[in-house]
Amino acid sequence: MTTTDQALETSAEQPRLWGRHAGVVVPPFLVFVAAIGLWELIVEAFDIQRFLLPRPSEIASLFVEDFGRLIQQGRNTLGVAGRGLLLGGGIGIGLAAITFRTRWMAEGIGIYAAVLKAVPVISLAPLTVVWFGIEAGSKIATVSIATAPILFTYTLVGLRSADANAQELMRSYAAGHFRTFWNLHVPYALPFFFSGLKIAVTIAMIVAIISEYFGGSFENLGGYIRNEANNVHTVEVWTAIVMACLLGISQYMIVAGIDRYVLRWHPSKRGG
């Protein structure tokens, strides 16, 4: 048992524990309430037309009503984002793992990665449609093009961050490449990998929705938005936005939670 665990279990620390959680929960809640209230008031006061900016209350009630369908569409979008991330992450992490010891190779791929990061990926969406079809295939491809260079860069820097003395220690044990990789380089890469993953999950979601917007099925958030926006059903569009945000936040929080759990040994993760 760690000293922090013990500290948290003593009853004297209880108020502070509550205080810490309150500090994390209360401010966002207040901001949320204030923002929604302000929004409602502005729509009311300036008499903004419904198709331009609907009231939060309207959006909320339709959101609840349509929840079943929205969650289904969200699931489809998440599926595309997830599969794209898996493919892109696999390619990026794989290339980083293969090349991190070979400077010129990593450098060469690094330049491609830098270029890809500068490329507006959505401009590639029409092309992926030509190559991989209008349905999921093209969207998965676009998401992987967007996420692969991010995970490549972060993983590469992480793998290379292994302490020089620790590498010599492994060498002094006559540890093979494979053992050194798992026992030393991978743990060093993890914090970087998670930083990259937190960025990549968000980008995967954004890119998935944008590429769905480019065509294909309506049974996903991007397609739904395209369809409803064309018919100027603004409230419907907003329910999809809310769903996208909720999924984005939960995704991020899940990754951040795993990050905290997996890296609980990491000096930067102890304490608040």
Binding site: T2, T3, E168, S172, Y173, A174, R179, N183, W265, P267
Partner: protein, 276 residues
């Protein structure tokens, strides 16, 4: 006062050589950028000997140690470890290396850090219970019982370095290569660690090559002190330390001890003057 331990003297002067440097030269970089770190170093370290390397910083002490450890290769001359090439000695896991920084793995507990070499080396003829017993014994020897499941960030610098000492001892290497192992510790912890190290050395059959920049430390611990010149590093003088064993605080108060400290200090002064 006890008499000098004659069997130990015999071991130091006779029989087997643990580490042999012969005309060793090491150059870093090449062409116009090259730095000559050490040149024509001859040094024999006998089995069970405790030898300290001392010299101005940048004179190549770490370089010598890393040559013996096969972490780098000499540019000239030869290095033999247990009568083998350093590479073979490394593959045979003949030595343990201790760095100035504890170099613990943050993601492993104290226990698992000490177990690391055993995991990697798959030492044959040592049962699981035996290994666990050994780790436990070492941890209590370095005074860390009760900290088995702590992570490195929960330990002080001195405790971390003690873990690294236990980790180096756990696979029972015949040689310990120590690069200013206690240099970053406060004096009190350092004194304790020194006495502990010395006790371990007396209890086991380990050969120790110890880099330090503390003259009293070198004199107190060693059978011989090797003084090196400034860059390019050469052996300036080898000073035998004829103090009685075991080395205790009592020894530290003897006149001979002071004479030897002075002798090393003067030799070091010459070494530094020569280098400038």
């Amino acid at each position: 006062m006890t008499t000098p331990d004659t069997s130990r003297e015999a071991a130091a002067s006779g029989a087997q050589t643990a580490i042999a440097f012969q005309g060793v030269r090491k150059e870093f970089g090449n062409g116009a950028n090259a730095t000559l770190a050490i040149e024509s170093v001859d040094l024999d370290i006998a089995e069970r000997e405790f030898v300290s390397l001392i010299g101005p910083s940048g004179c190549g002490k770490s370089t010598l140690l890393r040559l013996a450890a096969d972490l780098i290769e000499p540019s000239g001359g030869s290095v033999l470890v247990n009568s083998k090439t350093p590479r073979q000695a490394r593959l045979d896991r003949d030595y343990g290396f201790i760095f100035q920084a504890p170099t613990l793995f943050d993601w492993r507990t104290v226990w698992k850090n000490v177990a690391l070499p055993l995991e990697i080396m798959k030492i044959s003829g040592m049962s699981r219970e035996k290994k666990e017993e050994e780790i436990e014994r070492l941890l209590s020897m370095v005074g860390l019982d009760g900290f088995e499941s702590h992570h490195p960030y929960q330990l002080s610098g001195g405790m971390q370095q003690r873990v690294s000492l236990a980790r180096a001892l756990v696979f029972r290497p015949s040689i310990l290569l120590m690069d200013e192992p206690f240099g970053a510790l406060d004096e009190i912890t350092r004194d304790r660690m020194n006495l502990e190290l010395h006790r371990i050395w007396e209890e086991t059959n380990t050969t120790i090559l110890f880099v330090t920049h503390s003259i009293p430390e070198a004199v107190l611990l060693s059978g011989r002190v090797v003084v090196m010149t400034a860059r390019p590093g050469r052996v300036q003088e080898i000073i035998p330390i004829d103090l009685p064993y075991p080395r205790t605080t009592e020894v530290e108060e003897s006149t001979r001890y002071y004479e030897l400290v002075t002798q090393v200090r003067e030799s070091l002064g010459t070494a530094m003057a020569g280098g400038l």
